[in-house]
Every structure is written in structure tokens, then in C-alpha cells.
Symmetry: D2
Subunit: 315 residues, 4 copies
């Protein structure tokens, strides 16, 4: 809170930030006839010496949000887009170091993945000389996320993903829980466990003097470990699975100190087919929408400080 | 229109249909330790001798929508889900043949695709004996669609897809168009062409006496031809690309007589970087939301009748 | 279908249309210090002599979708926006009469309603001399719709609304329905009836020589009759309520010949509180999402032709 | 962070919470023939002594999310729903005081407003004896929100709203801002200012010994002051308007100590009509979607602690 010192003002300004949200930028890189694309949604939030614009409407310290938008597009040309994280670092550094009143920049990025359209029966073999190399289809699976924050001295990078829907059709139980007068749930010894993963992980990297992680490799490996932990955990509760997903990441990825998941329990209810004279041996399920269980937790490297907010929003 | 014969009624009932929409059914099939899943969203619409329920509220001819829901789940057990089309055929036949007042059934199905989570570094090789075979991740790409209609005598099957986003980063032009006093657009000789494909294709199969198409193979091949036509067409307009996509399907898939596409032109505007002293040689684009061009057309096998409605809705 | 006459072509082009969708236009009219606003989302679809652009990519007959967008904004200035219907008529007439190859124009419009923010305790009394007259809050209730089609000779205007959620907490029953082996539903003699109304109504007006309806008054009255029919019908089925809603409009509004409704049955299930030793005397309900009953029907003035498509999409 | 004391564990559990989200409950209260409704979406989050369920899958401390759902419905009967806040207080107190391992409960509620359908030309006058009193239409404007948190000792209530779209068509300027090499924006001396308000306000009330606010009156008055501040502020920046909205609430509502707003600048761009020989004197605007400015800030009663998180999510 940047409390305003004028006497007798009963109302003061607290934390504030501003910027242009959801700048959709697509970058095409041409390597001869072979094209590569990066497809990002970039949101800029700036903070600093901004009392005047709130109290009096003076914009002298305000770099327009339109300018922050222009900067996103110009930087896509000037610096290219090596990775979402690297692009965010370029932007955050620029705003903090070039504008005196701006003391902190937070850059949030969503990345959408694309894959090539095969133009022959080649499948996964290398493209031939006469094949199309500029056609893409959006993979449509998870959305990759990153948030880069810089205050002129140290960095915080929190990456993650959302919209990744996973399901185990067995190896999940739920029993032995607390009961009160409102408990009617029957214990389950073989159920479907499904969730739509929303995860965030914070890197230990904080300073320009340290070796920077390899962002893309880190993402691929982190996603892989997370999926395998989901698949391989024999689950007695979604909390247990969540913890395993987080612990597997901390165990395998030295560059990551903290993970937070928000996992809706996408209930699949076994349909009662008895009224129709049919047995339902864990075969036919009703996939429900609302309500849903919601399991949220942080998993940390021992000794690390928890910094990912309890309620992380998406943009 | 089923005009009601009572004299002096100035208002009459026209086309009507009813049923339970969006029944979410997940079917698990266990082949030893290896599980398979089908994930459908099934909507039932029934029509027939339904004047009374509209005029007087008598439900004597009305099989409850709740019963149509139960039937979806019971049929998942009784018949299994071989393909969305085959499942729709089972349901449509049942309603029309078992309930006298019901003369027509239309079953609409959305199908969501899942792939296995690899539980080792195996990648695409076959699973080993000790690997997990019941874990899945939703592919998240297109939604597969089908609509099966049966009136007791003949069948109409219209399949398709939606939510498939594709992009060519070159080999697209747009020029030589009509101009009037409101025209300001500059001609383009190298632009991005991107769209989110919504397509429907009608099968020639109409009767139980005919050989039924292989629905899953048809879907995979149709999608493949459509994507390749998109990728390989040097495009002078999105209309030309649309026609090529449809014609390729008609040319290669004998079982399909008619295709209709609704293709939003997902504009990617080249950003003007000149004010910043930068050149933009088809590298940096702004991906716009609204407004968007919308190109819609039917492509037919010569001699076939056009039956897919102009405005096909999604459910 | 505009079948193409060239010999030996096994594939032909069928119905097609194109244009710019979702042009968001806000028009401010200043009457001294008192401002008025119109907030529309306008979609243009043009058809005509368009074979060449599909077969060869020649755009000679294609007025760019960008031009149709410009026309929307220019017409907002040139003609103003008296009503959504009148604005659509201006646009449709323009495209068909000014471009030879264009034979048909269809303009679809969504309108969002706004009301003034009261700037004192005045409430509903007239604004005083010193009060703010340029501040608005979006009402957020239904979205008003219209579709204007013109082929150079006659007009078709279909207006309507969507997103209007209504509920009766009593005076609704459902019993006496057909039963089969999949029927488990219990009869209900007092239930909640709720739906989200999607309605379309077609005007009898087809020609410039006829007196044009008063569009805004027609909309207000039609909505009022529809709501009252919903409220005042003692309902034995949602079909009966739907018919009453349509019939009330046909009875009271001479300018309307046909109405079509798509009414999802937004189920409110009575919660079973018995396990907790509580009685639930039609007090506590669970509002469900999916699946939902879906009731659709056309209601017509006797002698009129049914022209609203069975599956009307929203844009 | 509840660090786990076992030696040599390199990974620990941090903040965690669980519960059932989005329980949709509709409560009907019958006052003779006159019905009243409350329509809520209730999400429960519980925290406490939950290490075991994460580390080992033991559910002994876990009251099932299904039970928390049942409790919501049972409490709607047992306590009624006086207001969203009061209902949340009942629920939070119950979970913390009845289950030893649960140390904190957070209840989030969305409320949807309904108004009566007038069943005659009465308009706003009282209903007559023969008029329908059980028919409602959803107002569709803002969604009312509250979040009640209880740790067994003190309360925190943060209420608010979202989805409230407002617009001033004049009395807004933007100029005198900082400029750098990426600045191209032209200064504006008369522009549209529009936003979709997302606001949260924290009550000073923390303990059962204090007099509880009148929640419904507080909401109505807070919304009124907020709207008037928006309408009456001659704005030199959206930040200034935001501060005025917050300060007006703090000034007028003693029960509120802190307000936080997230205000997207819903850009309305003046359309350039010059190419068509038309002048655009602040009449015709293009309502843009993305990107948008995003202005966020906290406004506080002097001496109060800022406790509303920077990024407040909606559920």
C-alpha cells in the first residue's frame, strides 16, 4: 500500500497496476520454404509512482496502455520470440528500465501450440522437397502459461498450463472419510478419476547473474512428469494425486521450487442401470458439470518460500 | 406443417420436436488391463403425432425426455458404442419403431477424442507389460459431430467436425475484387489465411439394404483430405479454398455426396511497425477477433440433392 | 443450388454466401446534453453470381467483406439507427441494388439494451437541469435479434430474442405421459417450470408498397405478450406453454404470421432432504445444467407458410 | 505453509483447501400466493489439518465434498436464505465448529437477481388479487458476489459484483501522458469511457460481538454510490474514475473499509469516415474486444489494512 501522506485524507490508494491485456501476436519465422510460428496472448501490468493519476487524473507518469501494446508487437520483431518466458523477460526489463515512474512490470502470456499439417502420407518422416511447409493446425490441447515479474532488482518467473483434461478409468478409490449427519456418499473402491489441470510452477531463477533455465525444455519435461505422476499414482484421494504430481516435478526439475495446482474433480457418476435389468460393471458413466469437487494445494521444495497466490487467476 | 383441422382456429401448430439434449455419456471398455473409452454428448429430438400436447397439454403421446436420457445410457451398455454414427442409428431406430406416435427421430452427437498418456519413455512404441493402460489425456483438437435422422423408412447421416483451427502462413492472395465508394481495403499478394473449420458432410447411405459405410475410417480419411486440400491450395480467396476442400472430399470419398462448410476468416493483420523504424516483412501479425469474414458454401456430387441446411447449428 | 453447366464436372457448387460477421457499432445521438445510444452487432451475408470465385478464385464479383464492414459504419452516420430492423433494411437494399452480381442480402443484428444511470435520488422522475444525461448501464437482460433478407423483389423480416430466462415456481405439472421399459420418471403435480427463451417471429410485411410495421413498438408488445402467456398459463407440459406463448403473439400482433421457439427445460430438481430428517415442501431446488429437455415448435397464423428454419442459429 | 516435520523429506505441502464448487441452489418462499426466490451458486473451500490426505491418501480428516454439497441444500431449508452473506456465515460457522480438523472455511457465493413478470398493465403498482405472483424473469444485469471466511475466531466478509457494463458517452479525456519511441496514440479530449465493473469490498465487521451490517441494504447503496461516481466523474483517466468510485464508497459506507476494482477499458474507437466523405463528430464508434486496457487498484479507509488479493478470481 502506497499510503498518501496528505493530512486529513480519510481515503487512500492501495496496490494498483495498469496495462494492456490480451495482445494477440503471431510471429512467423521463415527458414527458406519452412515456416515456424509462435502464437501468444500477452498482457502487460505496470506499477510504480502512480498516485497522481488516481488522485487528480494527471497522466504525466502514465505510459499509455496503447504504447505497451505497440511495444509487444515491436519487440516481436526486434527480439523475436524464442520462448514465452524469454519474450516476457525482454518486455518486463524494458518497461522498468526505460520509464522512471514504473517500478514493477508483470507480463502474463498464454501460448497456443500448433503442429504441421502433413501434406502427404509421410506421417512423421521429414518433409520432402516438394511438400508444403507453411500449413499448421492448432493442437488444441493445453494452453501454456507464463508470468514474468521484474522490479528492477530481481525476477520471478511462474509458468504453467491450463485446459489439460486427463482421466484414469481405474486405480482410484475414495473411502474412510469423515462422516456427519449430512453425509450420504457411498464409499468407492474403483472409480473414474478425471480433472482439468490448472497448474503453476515457480522457478528458482531470480537474477541476471544466475544461469537461466532452458524454458522450452523445462516446460516439456515438467508436463511429462506431471502427466506420468497422474497416470501412475494409485489414488486414494485427488489430494494424494495432486501431491504426487507436484512432488514429482520438484523431485525431477531442479529449476522449479514451488508448484500449485487447482484440480476440479470432474465427476463421472456410474449410471444406475438396474431399473432396466442391466448390470453396470464400471462401464457406463454420466459426466457431470456442476457442482464439482475442487482440490487446490501448493507443493514446495523444502526451505523454499511459498509465493504463488492461493487464487491464481488466468490472465 | 401439421395443420390442425378444427374449424375457426386462427392459429396452428407447425414443425415441432422435443427430446433430451446434451446427455454426456462416457463408456469404458476393458480388454484385460487395457482400457478403451468413448466420450459422447448425445442429443435426442423426436417428432410425430404431437398436436395434443401442444393444444391441450395431454402427454399421452409424449415419451418423457427423461426416458430418452435413460435410453442413451442403457443403450451404451446394451449395444456398446462402436462409433458415434452407429450409436445414433441404434437410438433413432429404437424411438421410431417402439413408440407409435413418434414418426421421426434425430440424434445429434458430439464426440471428444482422447489419447493414452505414455507411462514411460516409450513414446509411440507399443506399451510394455508393466505400463499403465488406463490413463488418458483429451486431445482437445476438433470436436467430431454426427446427426442421424430416421423416419421409419430411410436414413440420413450427416457427420462433420467443428473447432478445428488451421493456418497457412503464405500462398494466399486477395486482389482483383469489386470496389465501390466504401472500399478502402488494400490488395494483398501474400497474406496469412486462417480459419476455424466447421464442416458437415452427408452420406449417400439411406437404407438398411445398402452396405453401411465404415464410419470411423470415413471420418479419418475425410479429415485428412480436407486438411490437405487446405494446405495445398494456393489460394486467391477463401471461397476457392473452401471449394477445394469440399471437392477433394467428394472426389475421394464415394460414400459422401454433399459437404457444407462455414469458414470464418480469422484475420491476421500485418502490424505497421514503420512508426518505430522497423520493417515488417510478413513477420508480425495481430490476430483479430471481431469482425471476421464468414464464408459459407455447399459442395455437391453432381446430381445429388442439397439437403444440409444453410444455417446448421451445432447441437 | 446453382449447378454449374460445364460437362464432365463431377462436383458442383451449391448454396453459398459470404460477408463480414459481427460488426460492433455503437451510435451516439446528442440531443443537447441528453445523449441516446444504439449498440448493435451486425452481420452481413451476400449471395449471387459467385461461381467464379469458388471455381477459379477470381474476385471480380466479390465486394470485399471489409467493404461491407465499412458500409455498416458509414450507414450508421448516413441513415442513423432508428431501429435494428430499419437499419437492416437500409443495408440489405444497398447491397442488392448497387452490386449487379449480388442477388440477395441477409443482415443479422443483435441489439444490446442500455438504461440511464440515475444521477440523483430522482428515480424514475424526469432528469433535472443539472443531472448527468450521458451515463448508461447495460440492462443485461435479453438480446434483441433481427434478420432482414432482401432479394431485390421482396422482403423477409424475422425478429426475436435470446437469453431471456424465466421461471414459474408453481402452476406446472407433468404426468400422464407414455411409458416404456426405460421410464423411471415420477409424475409431478407441482414443479418449477423454467426456460431460457430463444424466439423468432416473422413479419407479414414483404413489400415496399405495404405499410411497414412500427418495429420498436412491435418488439415491446410481442415481448410483453410472450412473458404474460408464460406467466399466466397453467402448464401441463412445456409444449403447452410454448404453444400458448406463440398463439398469444399471433392473436395480438397482426403484423406477425409465424413464431418459432426453442425452449430448453431448465430443470430444477427438488432436493431429497429426507436423509437429513428434513421435509422439502417445494422449497429447495437444485438447478441443473445438462442434460436438459429441449422443446421446439413453430406456431403459425392459419394459412401462412412456415418459413423460419427448424434449426435457427444465432448469428 | 504447514511444513511437514519428517526429516529428509525434500518436498513439503503448502497452503491447501478443498470443497465442492458451484452448488446451484434455488430457494422458494411462499407467502400465501406470493412467492419469493433466492438463486445462488455456492462454493465451499475448507482448510485445516490435511497433511495426511496429501501424503498418504488417508481420508480420516476429510469431510467429503459431497457432504459439503448436501449441507448447502440442507441449510437452505434449516436456515433459509436471508442474504448471500448471512447464508455464507451459517455455512462457514458450521464447518469450522463441527469438524475438528477443519480450521478455516471460505464460502463464495454468486447471486442472480430476478424480478416479477407483470401480469397486467399494472406496471409498477401493487399486484391485484387475481394476478400471478409466482412468475419471474432474470434481470440479467450484474452478478452479486460474496466471500465469507471464518477461522473459528474472526470473520472476513468481502462482497462485490461482476458483469456490470457501464458507459459514459462524454466527459472523458486522455492526454498529457508519457511518451516513448513506441507511442503513437493521439490525445483525446472527448471520448467514450466504458468498462465492465468487477468490484470487491471488504467489511470492517470481523466478530460476532460487533453489530452485523445490513447486507442487502449495504449492497444496494454501495452499487448506487459506485454507479453515481462513475456517472458524475469528469474523467481524465480511467484510474481517476476508479479512485472516485472507491472513495465514494468509503466515504458513504461506514461498514466498508477497502474496495478493489478491476476495470477493463472497453475501447470504443471513433471510426474514420473521411474516406467516404463523411464527418464523424463523436457519433459512430467501433466497440473493440481485444486488446483492452486493464486498470486495477485498491482504495482504502485510512488506517485499514489491505487484505483483498491483487488478483481476485471469480469463484
Amino acid at each position: 500500500m502506497t499510503a498518501h501522506p496528505r493530512p486529513a485524507r480519510p481515503v487512500v490508494l492501495g496496490q494498483n497496476q495498469y496495462g494492456k491485456a490480451e495482445n494477440r501476436v503471431v510471429k512467423v519465422t521463415r527458414d527458406g520454404a519452412t515456416h515456424h510460428i509462435k502464437d501468444l496472448n500477452v498482457s502487460v501490468s505496470l506499477s510504480g509512482d502512480m498516485d497522481d493519476v488516481h488522485y487528480s487524473g494527471s497522466n504525466a507518469h502514465v505510459l499509455p496502455t496503447d504504447t505497451t501494446k505497440n511495444t509487444v508487437y515491436a519487440f516481436a520483431k526486434e527480439h523475436g520470440i524464442e520462448s514465452a518466458e524469454q519474450f516476457g523477460i525482454h518486455l518486463a526489463r524494458h518497461f522498468v528500465t526505460s520509464q522512471g515512474p514504473i517500478h514493477r512490470a508483470r507480463i502474463r502470456i498464454e501460448e497456443y501450440a500448433w503442429e504441421r499439417i502433413a501434406s502427404s502420407d509421410a506421417g512423421s518422416r521429414p518433409l520432402g522437397a516438394d511438400e508444403v511447409r507453411h500449413s499448421f493446425v492448432r493442437t488444441g490441447q493445453e494452453t501454456r502459461l507464463t508470468q514474468v515479474t521484474y522490479d528492477g532488482a530481481s525476477w520471478e518467473v511462474v509458468s504453467g498450463l491450463k485446459d489439460l483434461v486427463v482421466m484414469n478409468t481405474t486405480d482410484s478409490e475414495f473411502w474412510g472419510y469423515a462422516k456427519d449427519r449430512y453425509t450420504t456418499l457411498k464409499e468407492a473402491h474403483d472409480r473414474i478419476l478425471a480433472t482439468e489441470v490448472s497448474g503453476r510452477w515457480r522457478f528458482g531463477w531470480t537474477g541476471d547473474a544466475e544461469r537461466m533455465p532452458h524454458w522450452d525444455e523445462s516446460y516439456e519435461q515438467t508436463k511429462k512428469h506431471m502427466l506420468r505422476a497422474f497416470a501412475e499414482t494409485y489414488s486414494l484421494s485427488l489430494q494424494q494425486t495432486l501431491y504426487q504430481m507436484g512432488a514429482r516435478i520438484i523431485d525431477h526439475r531442479d529449476e522449479i521450487d514451488e508448484v500449485r495446482f487447482s484440480l476440479p474433480n470432474k465427476h463421472h457418476f456410474l449410471v444406475d442401470l438396474e431399473p432396466f435389468g442391466l448390470e453396470n460393471d464400471n462401464e457406463v458413466y454420466f459426466a457431470a458439470d456442476r457442482p464439482y469437487g475442487l482440490i487446490e494445494a501448493t507443493v514446495l521444495r523444502d526451505g523454499s518460500e511459498a509465493r504463488i497466490p492461493v487464487d491464481h487467476s488466468n490472465l
